[in-house]
Structure formats: structure tokens, C-alpha cells
């Protein structure tokens, strides 16, 4: 796993500045930390020698004041980087999914998990791990550089022992890898057990099995405790070994400094500086290791998201319909379509023309009627053949209404003023109903507000379609949930809309077929016939 993938900054340009800010603050903090050691050593020497402490004390206050400001900046920039990196990555993913056709989107559960919990783990990664990574890279180098300058002997001790830390970590890791992995697997299944039974509680209660699970929960939690402690003992032991190594190295520096001081080969200020600088070389490395375990999920989510964004050649992102966005109509030539993973194509060599006016599409269930509409709308790309279509608005069988007010639902995809919304509602016969709602257009929909029946939802979606400026209107079974009079209003509306636009409707109502200028019948998995 890569600690930092530079592609992140390419796909999420908004993340660049905050990440650079984190890096700059991290470098400045490293410099201030090293400088503080100089001031502190000078202050102690002044106290011991009985010379005036004013100058070194002034320096120390100035430097700690700087560190105070940098501490402020570090918290702010880290929090900002966490938000900006996460938000930019989520936005890039969702923009990508809104752009590509259905075949190139992951299945909804996987997509929602990646954009949700997955991307959320990027926040601690960016806000905590990245600053630690910068400190881990900068502070040891600065401390060692300063040591080389003031006391090469101590620098040599540090330079010889410092590489032992990652080497030791790798050795311990290699020696315990199999054991650790085996234990983590066992552990994650034990750890997941409680979540699993709690999430399944409604089922357990329904079948009267819940109280029996109490003992199982106690038993598994006990097993989880024992297994976790075995794993943790190993993990704590290795981190204790590394800390011991660092401590001993610092102690070696202190003791050699002490011996050289007694021999008079070193002055007090230099000796003090050496023992203050030496620990700074070790701890950031251990912190990077500790934070990495916490941020591993985030690094993995970054990799998943980048893979998702990189999938497929960029050229195919343009939906088939857009080259002729101004065209008034839909034209399919020799179109084949197979659903991803399906062996039998749903459409084979379909030709279809739907110019200005009303075109109806009929056929038995499973013949691919909805698929034709999705192809025309550019939501899917044909496996073979060409689709030419103007910019289209598609009303699906289960139209999407957001949680919000009636106005929010109507204004999705347009910026129409209220007068237009009322006109649209009048055309679908809902004006009176909405006007009678407690807050008219501001009435919330759904659980907390007014409930709309399936037929009312379909009509709201049609009202929304009339507000769209798209020259092509595609409608899937608009009257499935409507009774006779309701269906009549919708049929009238579709005929009216067809005077100015190309309207392609999937239907099984003979009344609407009778009104149509063209009628296309699809047969089950067969070549379409034009009537």
C-alpha cells in the first residue's frame, strides 16, 4: 500500500493547496523544533554559568511563540486538508458517476459504500497521517543535520542507530506476519459477530431467538477478548522493542557526551544540544508507524477511488446522444444491447426513428422497452450500432423525488419560477391538490410531510418534464398508476407536448397508441418492427 499516491492531487485539484499547506507547516514546525533545542541549551548554559539569561530566554520565548503559532496553523491546516481532500475525492467520484453511462458505474451498493464509508476514512488519513508523514520525513533529517554540524560524534551514533528502527520494525513484522494475519482474520470475525447479531436483532426477535443469543454474545465477547489480547501483546511488544531501541540510542548519546565532557573534549553547550536533539531524530518515525495503522483504511479508500476514476478510457465518457444535442429526435441504427454480465442480448439490431411528434413504443414485458429509452437518453451505451438523439429528459417508471418540499421535487433539473411550477401542475391536474396542501409548494414530501400516491408521484414527474427545455422527451409507462380520467389528462398532455418536441412513450394503453404519429412494436428479444 502506498503511503501517498500523487494521482490524488491530479484528480482532486482542490486538495492541492491544503496538502501543500500541511507540508509547509510541517517543515516549519520541524525547523522551529530544532531551533528550540539550541535556545534551550543556551538558556541552561547561561543558568549554569551564571551569565545573563536575557538573550537565550528571549530566543526561547520567541521560538516557543513561533511554535505556538505553528501549532495553531498545524491544527487548522490539518483539519482543512481532511475536509478538502475528502470532499474533492467524493465530488470527483460522484461527478464521474453522473457523467458515465450505467455500464461503467459500480452496482449501487458498492458505489454508495465507496462514496460513503469508504471516502469518509480519507479524512483521518489526510488530517492525521499526512502531517505525521511530513514530520517523519522532515524532523529526523533536520535533527541529524543539526547534530552533524554541532557534534559529529553524536551524529554518528544517531546515524548508525536510526536505520535500525525501520529495519527492526520490518524484521519483527516479517517474523510475525503469518501469525498476525491469522490472528487478525480470527479477530475480525469475532469482532464482527456482535455487529452481525445486533443488526439481525429484528429477525432474531421475530423468531424468538434473541434471548438465547445473550449467552452467545457473552461467550463470543470473551473469546474476542482473549484473541485480541494475544494479538495486542505481540503488537505492543514490537512497539515496546522499538521504543526501547530509541531510548537506548538516546542513552548512548547521553553517556558518550558525558564521558567526552569529563575528558574535556566537549563543551557543555554542545553536549546539552546533542542530548536535546537526539530524541527528535527518533520519535517522528515511530509516530508515522502508529498513525499509519490508524489511516490504513483511508489509504485503501484513496486507492479504490482512484482506480474507479481511472477505469476505462476517458474518450468513452461522452454519452452517445450528445454529439447531436440539438437534434430533434431519436435515431437508432442496428442497435444491440446486452446487460453487463448477461449472455443473451436484450436488443438485437434494432432500428428506430422517433422524430418530432408522438411516437409510442409497445411490446411485452422483458422486450427491452425501458432499455431503448435509457439508450436514447444516453444512460446506456449500445453494445453495437449507433444511437443519435437530441438532449433528452427521461421520466422513468419510478421517478426520483427528493426528500424535501414539493417545490424541490419540481425544480430538479430546472430553475423555473413559481408561476411556471403552478402552470406545470395545472397541466397534469395536480394544481388543486397542491394548492390545498397545508403549505402549498413548501409542503414537505414523505414520512414527515404529506404522502403522495404512486399516481401522484408519476404526475409530479410529468409536471417536472414539462418544465425541462430538452427537445426530446422520453416517458416510461406514464399511466401505469392512473385511473381512466387521470390517464386521459396525461394522454392529452403528451399529445400537446409532442407539438413542439419529439416525444417517445412506452405504453400499453390503446388510447395513447391511437393518438400517436408513429408506433413501434418490440417483440420479445427480436428485431424491432416499424408500423
Amino acid at each position: 500500500m502506498r503511503p501517498f499516491d500523487p494521482r490524488l492531487l491530479a484528480v482532486a485539484p482542490a486538495a492541492r493547496r491544503p496538502v501543500v499547506a500541511v507540508a509547509v507547516v510541517g517543515v516549519l514546525q520541524g525547523l522551529a523544533t530544532v531551533a528550540t533545542a539550541f535556545a534551550l541549551a543556551a538558556l541552561v548554559v547561561a543558568v549554569v554559568d551564571g551569565t545573563p539569561v536575557g538573550a537565550p530566554a528571549g530566543w526561547l520565548v520567541a521560538l516557543l511563540g513561533t511554535r505556538s503559532a505553528l501549532g495553531w496553523a498545524a491544527e487548522r491546516s490539518a483539519a482543512r486538508a481532511g475536509v478538502e481532500v475528502t470532499a474533492a475525492l467524493r465530488r470527483a467520484l460522484l461527478e464521474h458517476w453522473l457523467r458515465v453511462p450505467a455500464e461503467r458505474r459500480p452496482d449501487p451498493d458498492r458505489g454508495a459504500t465507496l462514496a460513503g464509508q469508504g471516502v469518509a476514512t480519507v479524512e483521518p488519513y489526510a488530517a492525521r497521517f499526512l502531517p505525521a508523514l511530513v514530520a517523519g520525513a522532515v524532523v529526523p533529517v533536520l535533527a541529524l543535520g543539526a547534530l552533524v554540524w554541532v557534534d559529529p560524534v553524536s551524529a554518528l551514533v544517531v546515524a548508525l542507530t536510526l536505520p535500525l528502527l525501520p529495519a527492526f520494525a520490518a524484521l519483527i513484522g516479517a517474523a510475525t506476519r503469518d501469525e498476525t494475519q491469522r490472528r487478525w482474520r480470527a479477530l475480525s470475525s469475532l469482532a464482527g459477530h456482535f455487529t452481525d447479531v445486533v443488526r439481525g436483532l429484528p429477525t432474531l426477535v421475530g423468531y424468538g431467538r434473541a434471548e438465547r443469543q445473550v449467552e452467545v454474545v457473552a461467550e463470543v465477547s470473551g473469546a474476542h477478548r482473549r484473541a485480541t489480547m494475544r494479538t495486542l501483546r505481540l503488537a505492543f511488544l514490537s512497539s515496546a522493542a522499538l521504543e526501547l531501541l530509541a531510548s537506548i540510542s538516546v542513552a548512548i548519546v547521553a553517556v558518550t557526551v558525558g564521558l567526552r565532557l569529563t575528558h574535556g573534549t566537549l563543551d557543555l553547550g554542545t553536549g546539552l544540544l546533542a542530548i536535546l536533539l537526539a530524541p527528535e531524530a527518533y520519535w517522528p518515525i515511530r509516530r508515522v508507524g502508529a498513525e499509519f495503522h490508524a489511516a490504513a483504511d483511508g489509504a485503501e479508500a484513496v486507492a479504490d477511488a482512484l482506480d474507479e476514476l481511472a477505469a476505462g478510457p476517458a474518450g468513452r465518457t461522452t454519452p452517445a446522444g450528445t454529439p447531436a444535442a440539438e437534434a430533434l429526435g431519436v435515431r437508432l441504427r442496428g442497435v444491440h444491447y446486452s446487460y453487463p454480465g448477461a449472455s443473451i442480448p436484450v436488443l438485437r439490431g434494432l432500428d428506430l426513428d422517433a422524430g418530432p411528434g408522438l411516437t409510442v413504443l409497445t411490446g411485452p414485458s422483458g422486450a427491452g422497452k425501458s432499455t431503448v429509452l435509457e439508450l436514447a437518453a444516453g444512460l446506456r451505451t449500445p453494445s453495437a450500432g449507433t444511437v443519435t438523439a437530441g438532449h433528452a429528459h427521461l421520466v422513468t417508471q419510478r421517478p426520483f423525488l427528493p426528500a424535501g418540499t414539493v417545490r424541490d421535487a419540481l425544480r430538479l433539473g430546472n430553475d423555473a419560477p413559481d408561476a411556471d411550477l403552478w402552470a406545470a401542475l395545472r397541466r397534469v391536474g395536480l394544481e388543486g391538490f397542491v394548492a390545498a396542501l397545508p403549505a402549498a409548494l413548501d409542503t414537505p414530501l414523505g414520512d414527515e410531510g404529506v404522502g403522495f400516491s404512486a399516481g401522484q408521484r408519476a404526475r409530479v414527474a410529468l409536471a417536472r418534464a414539462t418544465l425541462s427545455t430538452a427537445p426530446v422527451l422520453l416517458v416510461d409507462e406514464p399511466t401505469a398508476h392512473l385511473d381512466g380520467p387521470g390517464a386521459e389528462i396525461v394522454h392529452e398532455l403528451l399529445s400537446e407536448l409532442a407539438e413542439r418536441r419529439a416525444v417517445l412513450v412506452v405504453t400499453h394503453r390503446p388510447e395513447l397508441v391511437a393518438r400517436a404519429h408513429r408506433h413501434v412494436g418490440l417483440e420479445p428479444r427480436a428485431v424491432g418492427a416499424t408500423a
Binding site: L40, L43, V47, V53, P56, A57, V61, L64, G71, W72, A74, E75, R76, A79, R80, A87, R90, W97, L98, P108, A112, A120, S189, G192, D196, V198, R199, G200, P202, G206, R209, E211, V214, A218, S221, G222, M229, L232, A241, E243, L244, S247, I248, A254, G258, L261, T262, G271, G378, L379, Q397, F400, L412, P438, G446, D447, V450, G451, F452, A454
Partner: protein
């Protein structure tokens, strides 16, 4: 086991135990060793610069090495003790919380996305227990090390003891500020995060629908707005954190300069003077992480409040048998049935002018009548909010009626023990849970004594026969977390197979096809109606198609009196 203690209040945040205090003592030893390492190193170097006989330095050299080794050693012991204590605590509290959840399930877990509520319970409980390690232990060890350092400096020079004590006060102040900042910003931040998650989830799932109506820009605008709110909430929280991060170096600077000015090398000697000047820096660095513990504390307090609010609810159904014995009893038919049972031992369920409410304030189901006889298939339709799910909850004995009569074979159900009342009923909701385990185990929870043939028969009835033959290990195939993935349609059919296997006479289906595409939904509905031919079925659906296949359609929206009261 301290389970009885945990039962009293399973969600208390900080409750020092013998183990956490021991952890704190060990942690205090580790932190003190770290401070002593810096201080004795300073002493050693200054004493060495006076060029004494090497032997006089030996004690200091040994001390430096000992403190250097003691710190990782004590830290290791502390981590072992405190983590073990936390895990023991977690085990106890999990049992307690699970037991407390049982009587509240399902009606008190919210009416939507119960699995999300339940996942939240698991996470909140983990936060609360982690606070034991991340709050109690560092607080005890920090207090110990800080007071120890103050006492030691005071022994050498009383005024410097006061300086260190003042630094401790600054640190404590930093902790208070940090806690306050976290507590006050936490709720807004959580709400902002939840909104970002909601919008992100919606756009990810509805990308096709949004594209269909040309609403991509609106979707991204909504995401932008959610991100902006979140950004503001994080900025507010980070201001508090930044304030504390800025405060600590200033405190250290002041204490160090004060120490340098107040120390008198002539009285304590140069080496000790050096040691005393270095102590504030060492204390500041060793105790700065305490501020982080305040984040864990604030977080755990929020989690605890949520858990308490959930667990303190009264159950939505009264159990005449009492909560502790309800499921231990075997379901038996109650004597004195005034209305004899029809075929197959299925009860006749009647609702007469029944009303119900989830909260006690707003009526969710207006007076409704329903007679449910064996082999009768009833579809319930109506707009959102008309009480479809509420009706099902009443039938499932998950919710008591607030008015009217709910009888089973003529007996008021409130007189029946819950276990008995529920034993005839199977509920298949829109997200049946698949447990991590074998397919057989997933089915047998509905009827533990079922043999493999019965399992196969139930699967075949639910339309899962072909699926079963494709499974690599048949009935032993592992499903759920870590096992084979199960699609939405398969999940619903598994729920139906459970209901069939348990031979429940009444099957209640709450939008079983809500998350399925049209073709799958139709196929699943076929299998539902086929598998439950001999049972009483009540199906709540948003899809009015195929209603002609039911014996009776109950439209809660058609009935003018059944509109829920609007506030």
C-alpha cells in the same frame, strides 16, 4: 464478571475500576520515567562538564539507562492492563446492551433503516468503552507524573515547584478548553457529516435517475452545500483545537523562563539547576497528549447520550408474561378461544377500528378494520404516511394499539404472552438480515430442528432452488460478512424461505420488493404468492401492479378518516 453492575447502567462514560486505575499507575510510571530521563540526562551532562572523577558519574549513567528502559517497559505493561480491562468491560456492556435492546426491538429502533440504527449502537458502545482506556488511564497517569514532577522540584526548590504546578494548571485549563470546544462543536459536526453522507449516498445510488432528468447540476449543488456546512463545522471545531495547540507552547515558555530566572545554581548546584530548568519542557511534552483524551471524552459522552436515549425507552408492546420469561416459554394455545380455529391451526386475526401511534403523540394509523382468515392474501396500499407499516407492526405484535380491538381467535392479543402471540407470525421486511454463517444456519434460526430436506423444500418454495444448486457448498455455503454476497432478490427470498420453514401461519411482508428492479420484483412476488398459498398473507406495497392477484386490497389512502393527523 461484573455484569450486574454493568446492567445498572451500561452506558456510563468514565467509571474507574481497579484495572483502569492500575493501568493509570503503570502509565504514570512510564510518563515519569520519560520526564526523569530528560532531567537526569541534563544533570549528567552538566555534572560531567565539571570534570569529576568518572566514578561519581556512574550513578547518573545507570539512572539515565534505567529510565530509558523503564519507560517502554511500563508503557508496555500499561497498555496490556488497560486494553484487557477495556475488553472485559466491552464484553460485559455488550451483553447488557444486547439484553436491553431485545424488548425494544423492533418498534423502538426507528421506523426506517433499523440496521443503521443498530450499527450506530455498536459504534457508540465501542466509543464509550474505549473512553476507559483513552480517558481514565491517561488522566490518572498524567496527574501522577505531573504531581510527581511538581513535588520533586519543590523538594529541591519550593518556588520552582510552584512554577511546575502553575504549568499543570495551564495544562488542565487546556484540557477544559479542549473538552468544551469538542462538546460544543460535536453535534453540529455529526449532523453535517450525516448530511454529507445522505447526499453522497443518494447521488451514488440515483446517478442514473438524476442523469435521466438532467439534474446533475442540482445534485452537485446539493453536495456542494452539504460539504460547505461540513467545512464550516470542522473549521469551528478546529478553532478550539488550534487554540489549545497554541496555548501549550506558551505555557511551557513561560514556565521555562520563570524556572531559569528563579533557580539559584549557588544553592542547588549547577547540575540540579540544569535539571530544574529542563523539567517544564519535559512535563509540557509528556503531558500534551492529555488534551487528545478530552476529544475521546467528549465523543464518548455524545455516544453515551445517544445510547441512553435509545435504551431508556419503554417497550412499544406490553407483555403480560413479563419481559424476562417471554421467550423462554414455549408457545401454547391459550384456552378459552371463543372463535374456533380454521384449517391448519391458523388463527383468525381481527382488527376493529384499530388506531396506533409510535410516539404516543401523533396517530400513525387512523381507525382501521381488517379480518384476516387463513389462506387470505391481503395487499395494503396507500401513500407514504398513511400507516401501512404501522398496521403491519400492530399485526406483528410489535406495537400496541391505542384504540379499537385487536383479537386473535376472538381473544384480545394484549392478554396473550408476547412469545405466544408472535409464534404464529413471520415478518419479512425490506432488508432481511443475512447472518455471517452457513446458509443452513441462516435458515435454521427460524426452526432449529429442521432437517436438510425441509431446508431444501423451503428454499425451493421461495424460488431459490436454482440458486441453491449453483452454490459451491450447497447448504454449507457461508453467507453474510466474509462469505458469499447475496443480492437483494435473494435476500428477500431467504426471508420468505425462513417464514415458510418456520411454518408460521401468518406472513407479513413490508415492501419486500422496495429495493428490487421491476423484473426481479415481479419474479419475487410470484414466488411469495406461490410459497404462501396456504397461509394468511399481508403485503405492504408501493407497487400497485399485480393487485388483482390478492383476495383483498386495503387502501389506507382511500378512506377519508384514515388520513393521519397532520400537525
Amino acid at each position: 464478571m461484573s455484569a450486574p453492575a454493568a446492567l445498572r447502567n451500561p452506558v456510563t462514560v468514565v467509571r474507574p475500576t481497579r484495572a483502569t486505575v492500575l493501568g493509570g499507575l503503570l502509565g504514570g510510571a512510564a510518563t515519569t520515567s520519560g520526564i526523569a530521563l530528560t532531567a537526569t540526562s541534563g544533570w549528567l551532562v552538566v555534572r560531567a562538564s565539571e570534570r569529576p572523577v568518572i566514578l561519581t558519574l556512574l550513578a547518573a549513567i545507570v539512572a539515565v539507562r534505567a529510565f530509558g528502559m523503564a519507560r517502554p517497559y511500563f508503557r508496555y505493561l500499561e497498555r496490556l492492563v488497560s486494553h484487557d480491562a477495556a475488553l472485559a468491560e466491552l464484553a460485559d456492556r455488550r451483553v447488557a446492551v444486547f439484553s436491553a435492546l431485545v424488548p425494544l426491538t423492533p418498534a423502538r429502533l426507528g421506523r426506517r433503516s433499523r440496521s443503521a440504527v443498530l450499527t450506530g449502537v455498536v459504534e457508540d458502545l465501542t466509543d464509550v468503552v474505549e473512553a476507559q482506556v483513552r480517558v481514565t488511564v491517561p488522566l490518572v497517569s498524567g496527574a501522577l507524573a505531573g504531581l510527581g514532577a511538581a513535588a520533586l522540584t519543590a523538594w529541591f526548590a519550593p518556588t520552582l515547584g510552584l512554577v511546575v504546578a502553575a504549568l499543570l494548571v495551564v495544562l488542565a485549563l487546556g484540557c477544559v478548553v479542549a473538552w468544551h470546544a469538542e462538546s460544543t462543536s460535536r453535534d453540529a459536526l455529526l449532523a453535517a457529516r450525516a448530511e454529507v453522507a445522505r447526499v453522497g449516498d443518494l447521488v451514488a445510488r440515483q446517478a442514473g435517475e438524476l442523469k435521466a432528468i438532467g439534474a446533475e447540476r442540482d445534485a452537485l449543488r446539493a453536495l456542494g452545500a452539504a460539504h460547505a456546512t461540513w467545512r464550516a463545522a470542522v473549521a469551528r471545531q478546529s478553532r478550539g483545537r488550534a487554540l489549545v495547540a497554541a496555548l501549550l507552547p506558551l505555557g511551557t515558555a513561560a514556565a521555562t523562563v520563570a524556572a531559569a530566572l528563579l533557580v539559584d545554581p549557588a544553592t542547588v548546584g549547577a547540575p540540579v539547576a540544569a535539571l530544574l530548568v529542563l523539567v517544564p519542557v519535559a512535563v509540557g511534552e509528556a503531558l500534551a497528549p492529555l488534551v487528545d483524551t478530552m476529544r475521546a471524552l467528549a465523543r464518548a459522552q455524545g455516544s453515551s447520550a445517544r445510547l441512553t436515549a435509545l435504551l431508556d425507552q419503554e417497550p412499544a408492546v406490553h407483555d403480560p408474561a413479563g419481559p424476562t420469561t417471554s421467550s423462554a416459554q414455549h408457545p401454547e394455545h391459550v384456552d378459552g378461544c371463543s372463535e374456533p380455529r380454521a384449517t391448519g391451526g391458523a388463527p383468525v386475526v381481527r382488527l376493529e377500528a384499530v388506531t396506533a401511534s409510535w410516539t404516543g403523540e401523533r396517530t400513525a394509523l387512523a381507525p382501521t378494520d381488517l379480518a384476516l382468515r387463513p389462506d387470505r392474501h391481503v395487499a395494503v396500499v396507500g401513500p407514504n404516511g398513511s400507516g401501512k407499516s404501522t398496521l403491519l407492526a400492530v399485526l406483528a405484535r410489535a406495537l400496541d394499539v391505542t384504540g379499537g380491538r385487536h383479537t386473535r381467535d376472538g381473544v384480545d392479543v394484549r392478554g396473550l404472552p408476547l412469545a405466544t402471540a408472535r409464534a404464529d407470525i413471520a415478518v419479512v421486511d425490506d432488508e432481511p438480515h443475512v447472518f455471517a454463517g452457513s446458509l443452513a444456519a441462516n435458515l435454521r434460526l427460524a426452526r432449529p430442528d429442521a432437517d436438510d430436506d425441509a431446508l431444501r423444500h423451503a428454499l425451493a418454495l421461495a424460488g431459490l432452488g436454482p440458486w441453491l444448486t449453483e452454490l459451491p457448498d450447497g447448504l454449507d455455503t457461508r453467507l453474510g460478512t466474509g462469505g458469499r454476497g447475496v443480492s437483494g432478490g435473494e435476500r428477500t427470498r431467504l426471508g420468505i424461505a425462513r417464514a415458510v420453514l418456520a411454518e408460521r401461519a401468518v406472513v407479513l411482508l413490508d415492501e419486500p420488493t422496495a429495493h428490487l428492479d421491476d423484473a426481479t420484483a415481479t419474479a419475487v412476488l410470484d414466488d411469495v404468492l406461490g410459497a404462501t398459498r396456504e397461509r394468511a398473507v399481508v403485503l405492504v406495497s408501493h407497487r400497485p401492479e399485480a393487485l388483482n392477484r390478492f383476495d383483498h386490497v386495503l387502501d389506507l389512502g382511500a378512506h377519508p378518516s384514515s388520513r393521519p393527523d397532520q400537525e
